[in-house]
Symmetry: C2
Amino acid sequence: MRTSIATVSLSGSLSEKLTAAARAGFDAVEIFENDLLASPLTPEEIRARCADLGLGIDLYQPMRDMEAVPEEQFAANLRRARRKFELMRRLGADTVLVCSSVHPLAVDDDALAAEQLGHLADLAGEFGIRVAYEALAWGRHVSTYDHAWRIVRTADHPALGTCLDSFHILSRGSDPKGIEDIPGEKIFFLQLADAPLPAMDVLQWSRHHRCFPGQGGLDVTDLVRRVLRTGYDGPLSLEVFNDVHRQSEAGPTAVDAHRSLLVLQETVGVWTPPAAVVPTGVAFAELLTPDAAPVTALLGALGFTRTARHRSKPVDLWEQGEARLLVNTGPTGRRDGTGLAAIGLESPDPRGAARRAEALLAPVLPRRRAAEDAPLEAVAAPDGTELFFCATDRAQLPNWRADFAAVPHEPAGLGPQQGPGPAYAGAVRRIDHLALVQPWHQFDEAALFHRSVLGLHAQESVDVADPYGLMRSRAVTNTDGSVRIVLSVGAAPSDDTVHAQHLAFATDDVVAAARRFRDAGGRLLPIPANYYDDLAARFEFADGELETYRALGILYDRDAYGEFRHCYTRTVGRVFLELVQRDGYRGYGAQNAPVRLAAQHTVTAG
Amino acid sequence: MRTSIATVSLSGSLSEKLTAAARAGFDAVEIFENDLLASPLTPEEIRARCADLGLGIDLYQPMRDMEAVPEEQFAANLRRARRKFELMRRLGADTVLVCSSVHPLAVDDDALAAEQLGHLADLAGEFGIRVAYEALAWGRHVSTYDHAWRIVRTADHPALGTCLDSFHILSRGSDPKGIEDIPGEKIFFLQLADAPLPAMDVLQWSRHHRCFPGQGGLDVTDLVRRVLRTGYDGPLSLEVFNDVHRQSEAGPTAVDAHRSLLVLQETVGVWTPPAAVVPTGVAFAELLTPDAAPVTALLGALGFTRTARHRSKPVDLWEQGEARLLVNTGPTGRRDGTGLAAIGLESPDPRGAARRAEALLAPVLPRRRAAEDAPLEAVAAPDGTELFFCATDRAQLPNWRADFAAVPHEPAGLGPQQGPGPAYAGAVRRIDHLALVQPWHQFDEAALFHRSVLGLHAQESVDVADPYGLMRSRAVTNTDGSVRIVLSVGAAPSDDTVHAQHLAFATDDVVAAARRFRDAGGRLLPIPANYYDDLAARFEFADGELETYRALGILYDRDAYGEFRHCYTRTVGRVFLELVQRDGYRGYGAQNAPVRLAAQHTVTAG
């Protein structure tokens, strides 16, 4: 029989995946949409590459949330589908996978589903395309293959058939016998996958996935409160079977473990450490680099100005608006190349913040680096990043800026923007967020550390697909969002040259900022054209808006709170910079991260 | 409050765990029995180490399968308990954890459970020890904390209380409110662990854990058969979302993927490759080494004799019984140091075996290494091990031994044992099994390869705890057990210097074999004394038997089919050797693997 493989099943760039599939003897591929979006190849180039390799493109996938929706929504869906059918014509693919809807607006109405799928098939037919409708095991109203087939049969359209997927069918325990009642010519496609039976019974859960209190989802605190009410006066003892801890060094794990019990005791009220002092902003970020030139070239092009130099050390202060960067060319520590070494957190009470950190087992760093320096409170985060609790130009408190002497600088071009006053278009206002890559076994520890030591809130974890692996990331923030730290980690130890740290700068006008950067000689990360074709299918933009984003390499996202536009510089050492314009938007562009990561791989490889 | 941590929560040797716990500020530890068994420290030394570190030993754990069993079984349990109480006295630990039984003989009889726990508490009381009874979430009859407490209350014994574990309580969704009804003085211990809520819904299962057909637990074959009956003539297409594949190189993954579809097509009868030719024995194993001396010293001490040398290459043949080893000092390939490079499989039809391997995408190796060599069929396994399909001294077939010229050798000592005839006590009969460490992302691929290409049966996977991580291993065998290959893999990429390959030799008398080896100057892996104390508690031995094992470093296990005795040499490069005596026993001593692995770490570190 003809054999095929979905590109999502393999690692790497789309081009690598196609080559590997052809060499292994496959006759065809399914092109997974995200692989196309992240590829610098045009659809025509992908078509030609497949032809050269002797591979058919037997399926384009997936098209989601199409059917059984209100009329207005369906009209938008048809517009989106037309874009995708045009793309498929360029690719030379004649079958598209439509997954059963998971959309919150989808209704439980088979007749409507059949009618709308019929309309979709009409449109597909105009392009010579067949629609293969598949029941996702977690579809909102259609989750079994026989249900999907009933809808297809009702629609009774020559360009509409069903797609069967062994995982979706067998994972739900459906009886595959009913497949034999479907005419073979109406089965447009057959996707195969096996899976280990979920061995996640309570025994497996216990033996492999326990974690320290506060790092999981069980209400351990409530349980401990109840035990204490009985008069129990024995120890609180941790018994944690965890595959990750088994591979990690015992010392740091033990500290993480003990911190979890301290936090627990604080929460239940039997221990009172110094209260959390929540930081109110980012005073500075410090980059440690063996060669300042590449970093300062980027900063200069972004409109930063070197305003001061440390009185005793090779550290320069670069400023724009309230964004302050220290560029340190002193001896580098354990990290190679340019990296983010320290974060200055604006603190209402630096001494109090440090006392709490110390009580919660954070390693305290020497208060003065040199005799003449201002006494600064600092601790080390689990990943080694130095956290300074400090004050910027505030009365009664040691001022970290006092260690720096102003250097002559012209307000070159438009010059640095001091304070919150009116800015030129595209000026950097402040640091929006800092993204720190964690050692792969310290992700849970880092989240607990930032929550308990700094008093920040931890948001939900999100998974992000990288061409060469999965990343998980989790943001910790203060209430008003003036401190946002994104912790991320790879799925397993691996090459992390691309899993770089980054610094994001907030601007009110990212288009202007990107143009200024480009005009100043900066190069933004190039984003594939396919990404913009997809944006055009997903959103409606004002005339010329999308072309502007495409020309500059600006990415776009939207959530319930507003819009988000952002773009990236090239990577220097282990760091890259981002410009973000968030108009109410609360996230970090996770939707765009796979495209960004693939683009970074392309640049690195190229 | 007093804080404590179970040693199982941390990585490393017991000594490292204690140090890490003390440095992080814990007041006490729970000693996990396996950590003690694997430690070279005596109980008194552990006690002294804890005292030096300021750590109490607040719990010894676990004691299992104690209560609600038939009388005879309970008498044996009390004997076992007495041994453990003696051990606890040496440790200076005064509380022991007893988990609710999971034993198949345990009966659902609370009164009997209470009565027997009362007897156990009587015995404990004699030693000044308290028994803390805990409901395992997966206990056979007692799985909730309130049930365990009712039994403790019924027993009403001062030396019997309950142990609460937040995981066991909350993972079952029990209401912790009832805890407040237990008098605090009857809660002897509180174990804490959190856990992520099982996110393994079908969506997570699909997005992270799909695998290729034949590598999981779904009946994909049956589904495909039914689809084919409909007349479907489209492609078989793989759509596999898998975290491991995302990180692995695309080329080998694609080959593995395509092989899975070929095997599937063979199974459903639409493709007919050459039939599997199941190997009937191990013709030889080939060690590649930059320095033959350490390996040949081991072989000599084990009673092997160098019998022949390859006519054109620096390869020696060493023999004993039907065990044949090639020691190759030619240029080493991709591996560092001494490693297992090739396996000769005795094949009824070498050409047929190679044709099948080739049809299933195994890389075929050149048939002749040199012009004068016998034509040998060989392919590469996924981990790079060369597999030769060959014949030893069989008519009509090229004989691999023809490439070797006999060298003069005395039947030194007792000399090599040729053929199956009567042997001196402790002679090596043949290769019992070969254990190959797989690259961590190729475990599923390797199992499918050995099953489909060689026609071997795959047994269930087992998890084995190493002091620095978990290992998973899975045996593939032919029907009569004359070919046994154990595939193993670490939980994630890590230092694998200890996760070595090994070769196990079968003998009828491992005690005699171990003595001969020692008398010939060989050194066996030293096994901690604590292990033998535990054996004494678990099994009854004839007089002097256990002392013999202890003196030699022989490990012991038993299954439903018979007994198993085995011992290990030191590691050379990436390889160590094992002597096994299996009297009906079908496993590989997985029960003893943690002790063996810890002992290997100790030797490496020491």
